[in-house]
């Protein structure tokens, strides 16, 4: 049994076992975890959080591995959160991102954690954001969040990153269409991975065409399209440069604060929602009584909801 205070201290000192334990507690919403997180919140805020997203098979994990090697060469420490989907039927998951990250093993400057989408109680969004806070407070310079960019929860999570890279690959046809639907708006950098394949230039020009159609305002960040071959590391140093430029742009324009403010607002709203819903659920006498009243049509749902909110 480790005390709350000492767990916080151990995480801040970068103790691998403590970081791992805390992320488990975050996923499991264990008692006491909220206190640790609120302490860690004060030590966090220094890391550059990078979101890497794209369709399955686009080479995200290999790219994350290559990016991490590049950051390590520059002496920067890296935390990786790799999100993989859970089975809709059993809730189980096979998390295989580590297979592609073998080159990073044995480096104490790298911490990798796999998270299943449904394994996290209280939702993926909250767990992933709290895991970012943990790695940030533990002093990681760079935090890479890798997700399959499908589903609203994942888009919510990825928008918490300061820099979002959307990965596509040549020759997947409708791939660019898929990006158009949801992820185009949030991409700060487009990556065309596996660029040694046929059709890479076509994918790049399709993306460029699409970006040209997007409305632009003066002073806006120009979204670059970078070609990489993550398996060989080709284009990866240049990609890291673009990420650094983006972070500098965020800082220079005040956009970093604006995004931080917006993300904090979203987080507070999520948490408030969670706290309220936790108080309003079957089994709580005042809630059950109100449900009875509304069901019997002696009260209406909106008035009942308002009254319950006021009583909180």
């Amino acid at each position: 049994m480790t005390g709350t205070v000492s767990l916080t201290d151990r995480v801040v000192r970068g103790d691998v076992g403590a970081i791992a334990r805390l992320i488990t507690q975050i996923e499991r919403r264990s008692p006491g975890v909220d206190e640790v997180l609120s302490e860690l919140h004060h030590s966090a805020g220094r890391a550059h959080v990078i979101g890497v997203t794209g369709s399955p098979g686009s080479g995200k994990s290999t790219l994350v591995s290559a990016l991490t090697e590049q950051y390590r060469r520059a002496g920067r420490t890296v935390g990786i959160i790799a999100v993989d989907p859970s089975s809709v039927f059993t809730g189980g998951a096979i998390l295989g991102d580590r297979i592609r990250m073998a080159a990073l093993a044995g480096d104490p400057g790298v911490f990798i954690r796999s998270i299943a989408t449904r394994g996290a109680l209280g939702g993926l969004s909250r767990a992933a954001l709290d895991a970012i806070t943990t790695l940030d407070a533990a002093g990681k310079d760079i935090i890479i969040l890798e997700t399959v960019g499908v589903g609203q929860a994942e888009v919510d999570v990825i928008s918490a990153a300061q820099t979002v890279a959307v990965v596509s690959v040549p020759g997947m046809g409708d791939d660019v269409q898929a990006i158009k639907a949801g992820l185009l708006e949030i991409a700060d950098v487009h990556v065309v991975n596996k660029s040694d394949r046929e059709g890479a230039h076509k994918t790049v020009s399709e993306l460029r065409e699409m970006l040209r159609l997007a409305p632009r305002v003066p002073g806006q960040w120009t979204v670059p399209i970078k070609q990489t071959v993550s398996a060989t590391g080709q284009g990866v140093p240049e990609l890291v440069d673009r990420f650094d430029e983006h972070l500098a742009w965020l800082a220079d324009t005040g956009e970093r604060e604006r995004r931080a403010w917006r993300n904090t607002a979203t987080r507070i709203r999520w948490l408030a929602e969670e706290l309220v819903l936790d108080r309003l659920k079957p089994g709580r006498p005042d809630f059950d009584r109100t449900v009875d009243e509304v069901t019997a049509r002696r009260d209406d749902p909106l008035s009942a909801a308002r009254r319950l909110m006021e009583q909180l």
Binding site: G91, G106, S114
Partner: protein
């Protein structure tokens, strides 16, 4: 999610059991470990697979970072005795004993099985172990752990 696949915490909430499955050394036979991975996933567990040709150091590092309940090591190369000796030697050198139980999988002689258990291997799963039995044993090991935090 199925209640039977989950573990209860102090506050009554439930969570999935986490398992790391690893292949160590030159052994390239991963059909068995992949079948086990699917079996455990279908039982509602979260399975992290390391891929082939890992070192004992890499596997222990991954199991600690992933904070798993059970570490399963599949070996069909015949090198199980030296590899597990190395594993327990590395675990002994750690400042803090990790909380996971260790399971060996593969083809091993009976007398080695006894030796492995003396070293600290919690269960040995052979090619005869049925999927239901594998799930039951892993679940039991995950539940058996002291709730440290």
């Amino acid at each position: 999610m199925q209640g039977a696949t989950m573990r209860s915490t102090q506050d009554g909430s439930e969570h999935a059991i986490r398992v790391l499955l690893a292949k160590i050394g030159l052994d390239g036979h991963d059909r068995g470990v992949k079948v086990v991975a699917r079996t455990l996933r279908d039982a509602g567990m979260e399975v992290i697979y390391t891929g082939l040709h890992r070192t004992p150091e890499q596997v222990i590092e991954a199991a600690i970072q992933e904070d798993v309940d059970v570490l399963g090591i599949s070996l069909l190369s015949g090198a199980h005795m030296p590899i597990f000796t190395k594993i327990f030697q590395l675990l002994g050198d750690l400042p803090e004993t990790p909380r996971f139980s260790i399971v060996a999988g593969g083809v091993m002689p009976d007398e080695d099985e006894e030796q492995l258990k003396k070293m600290g291997v919690a269960e040995v799963l052979s090619q005869d172990t049925t999927p239901d039995d594998i799930v039951a044993k892993v679940r039991w090991l995950a539940q058996d752990q002291p709730s440290q935090l």
